[in-house]
């Protein structure tokens, strides 16, 4: 194989692995949008707050890793519920922009609160899988990235079962389709909304743990980064589509890594946004979305 082709394939592998991050972020975002028909820009900070809370058992009690994971999930759920109360519950319905602004306010609030409490010092997160890369013929695969990819697929499978084959999933789909009719048919809409916050935050907490573990260090700026990447992913994938978010995440990862390898670090984000632009102009519904609004 020529060196160029080797590079392209290796960067595609890296991109797919990294893209699994984006896919995980996109899943929570898109699930939320699917049910609530609103963006939650405080989703990134929710996830960040969860993984910061996960540091507590790790540093204070030297707890085993499964306790840390559970704390991340519980922390994210707690903060997610807080976001629901503060940013959505009391905002008058019918205003599309108001909840967007309240979640922006929450984004700033949570991020600065974490900066204040941690003095903006980065915290180390323990690697679970060690540094050794797996060799796959001429290519290298990092085990922690592989774990993220597998976790992503697992979450998608579980969410698929939940959404398509349980009573709660049916209620969620009904609310997503038409909240008023769902209410008339006896679905408790506000309960579904609250549980959607719980579910997306839990997915976020678990994904956030994997992300933090792979990065090896944690700093508050991660909240804004996760929010932006999540938004890009769900637009490319099609709003509300879980498989779309996964595909878009992987695609974004591959594009970013090719740009990074062949053009340099400053081109990475330019290509990410060009991809976003291309989709918005040429296919506004996204990869697997229904008609755009």
């Amino acid at each position: 194989m020529s060196a160029l082709l080797l590079d392209v394939v290796q960067q595609t592998i890296n991109g797919l692995m990294y893209g699994a991050f984006y896919a995980l972020l996109g899943i929570g975002f898109t699930l939320f949008f699917g049910v609530m028909k609103k963006f939650n820009l405080a989703y990134g900070p929710t996830v960040m707050a969860g993984i910061y809370l996960g540091l507590l058992p790790l540093y204070v009690w030297k707890a085993p890793i499964w306790v840390v994971v559970l704390t991340c999930v519980a922390g994210a759920v707690l903060v997610g519920l807080l976001v629901e109360v503060a940013c959505f519950r009391y905002v008058a319905p019918g205003n599309e922009l108001a909840p967007l602004m309240t979640t922006i306010g929450m984004l700033i609030l949570i991020q600065e609160l974490v900066v204040l409490l941690t003095h903006a010092a980065p915290f180390e997160y323990p690697p679970v899988f060690g540094d050794e890369s797996l060799e796959l013929g001429p290519f290298l695969v990092r085990p922690d990235y592989l774990a993220i990819l597998l976790a992503g697929l697992l979450f998608v499978g579980l969410l698929y079962l939940l959404v398509e084959h349980t009573a709660f999933g049916r209620a969620m789909r009904a609310v997503a389709e038409n909240p008023r009719v769902a209410q008339l048919l006896g679905v408790d809409v506000s309960r579904v909304n609250t549980l959607t916050f719980v579910l997306t935050s839990a997915v976020g907490g678990a994904s956030g743990f994997l992300v933090a573990m792979t990065f090896g260090a944690l700093q508050p700026g991660i909240a804004g980064w996760m929010t932006i990447k999540g938004l890009v992913v769900i637009v490319i994938g099609g709003l509300g589509s879980i498989p779309g978010a996964v595909l878009a995440g992987l695609l974004l990862g591959v594009v970013e890594f090719q740009a990074l390898w062949f053009l340099g670090i400053t081109w990475r984000d330019i290509f990410a946004y060009l991809l976003l632009f291309a989709f918005l102009v040429l296919r506004p519904a996204g990869l697997l979305g229904r008609a755009a609004t």
């Binding site: 205003n95 306010g105 204040l116 330019i270 060009l274 918005l280 506004p284």
Partner: protein, 303 residues
């Protein structure tokens, strides 16, 4: 006194940035990309005075017009998407502009100093204002004059037929089109005007601060700009000016408690948007104020 002048200058410049969001918002389009136009205005006007020896007036005009042209061009693809999608698309535009300036290198050695946009190092030594001996107070007057001019023009626009068309497009695009409004023209015009106002703000800013880099036109600036307009209210352009004044005075006033500054800022956004979803100066306030002023005039006119 110097401090007050500095704060007022920043309020004036940021009010212009907020007004560019407002102009686009009153046609029902939310833009998180106005800082891109601001950056274009700042870099071009800065290059004009620092590298090409232009004087301030033409440089400000260049920044304004160039940003307006880009706004015109962005207006067309932006037509394809609406609402929250447009918010994300414009966010992407702003970031592309920022990353473009991060990669831009165009420098000359003038008087022993390297002047001009220099990639990640930023664009230093835009010293026109200081070399000409213009004081901060005089430059504040320039900023306030520009702001006053923009406010007058926007007020005239809103009182005109065109202003009614802007609002009609916000309310219901299809109904507006049926009533004979050229929706495409209105939306592209809004983006062009918004780009111009933001470009003017950026051009004024770079001569005020003598320095600009890509981090100064990143997403936090976009969030501020949108917050001025949304918090201030979409009922009148005075709302945006009020929003910028309140938020900047507040962050300056809280400088003593600087760790809590942004926390209060975030909490304030949540509180105001929950209590007043259309902002402080919303349509109801404008109507009420208008009615109050009419009643007063009637009383004064009465014998």
């Amino acid at each position: 006194m110097e401090y007050v002048v500095a704060v007022l200058s920043i309020i004036g410049i940021h009010a212009l940035l907020g007004l560019s969001v407002y102009l686009v918002a009153i046609t029902g389009q939310l833009s998180f990309g106005q800082q891109g136009f601001y950056a274009i205005g700042a870099y071009l006007a800065g290059m004009a005075t620092a590298l090409w020896n232009w004087s301030l007036g033409p440089a400000l005009a260049l920044g304004t017009v160039a940003a307006g042209v880009v706004g015109f061009l962005v207006g067309f693809p932006a037509l394809r998407v609406r609402g929250l999608y447009l918010g994300i698309a414009t966010l992407g535009f702003g970031e592309i502009v920022r990353l473009g300036f991060l990669n831009l290198k165009y420098t000359k050695t003038i008087g022993g100093r390297l002047v001009g946009p220099n990639g990640a190092e930023g664009f230093r030594h835009v010293t026109y204002v200081y070399e000409r001996g213009i004081t901060q107070g005089q430059y504040l007057l320039v900023i306030l004059l520009a702001l006053a001019l923009v406010i007058v023009l926007i007020s005239l626009l809103e009182r005109s037929r065109l202003g009614v068309q802007f609002r009609a497009v916000e309310e219901d695009e299809i109904a507006a089109a049926v009533a004979g409004v050229h929706v495409t023209a209105v939306k592209v015009l809004a983006f062009t005007l918004g780009g111009m106002v933001a470009g003017l703000g950026g051009a004024l800013f770079v001569h005020y601060s003598t320095y600009i880099d890509h981090e100064m036109v990143a997403l936090p600036l976009a969030v501020s700009a949108v917050t001025y307009a949304m918090l201030g209210g979409l009922g009148s352009c005075w709302g945006t000016v009020l929003g910028a004044a309140v938020l900047i005075s507040l962050t300056e006033g809280l400088r003593v408690a600087k760790e809590f500054r942004l926390i209060v800022y975030g909490a304030l956004i949540i509180l105001v948007m929950t209590l007043r979803p259309r902002g402080l100066v919303d349509e109801r306030v404008v109507l009420w104020l208008g009615g109050w002023m009419r009643r007063r005039r009637w009383r004064l006119d009465a014998p």
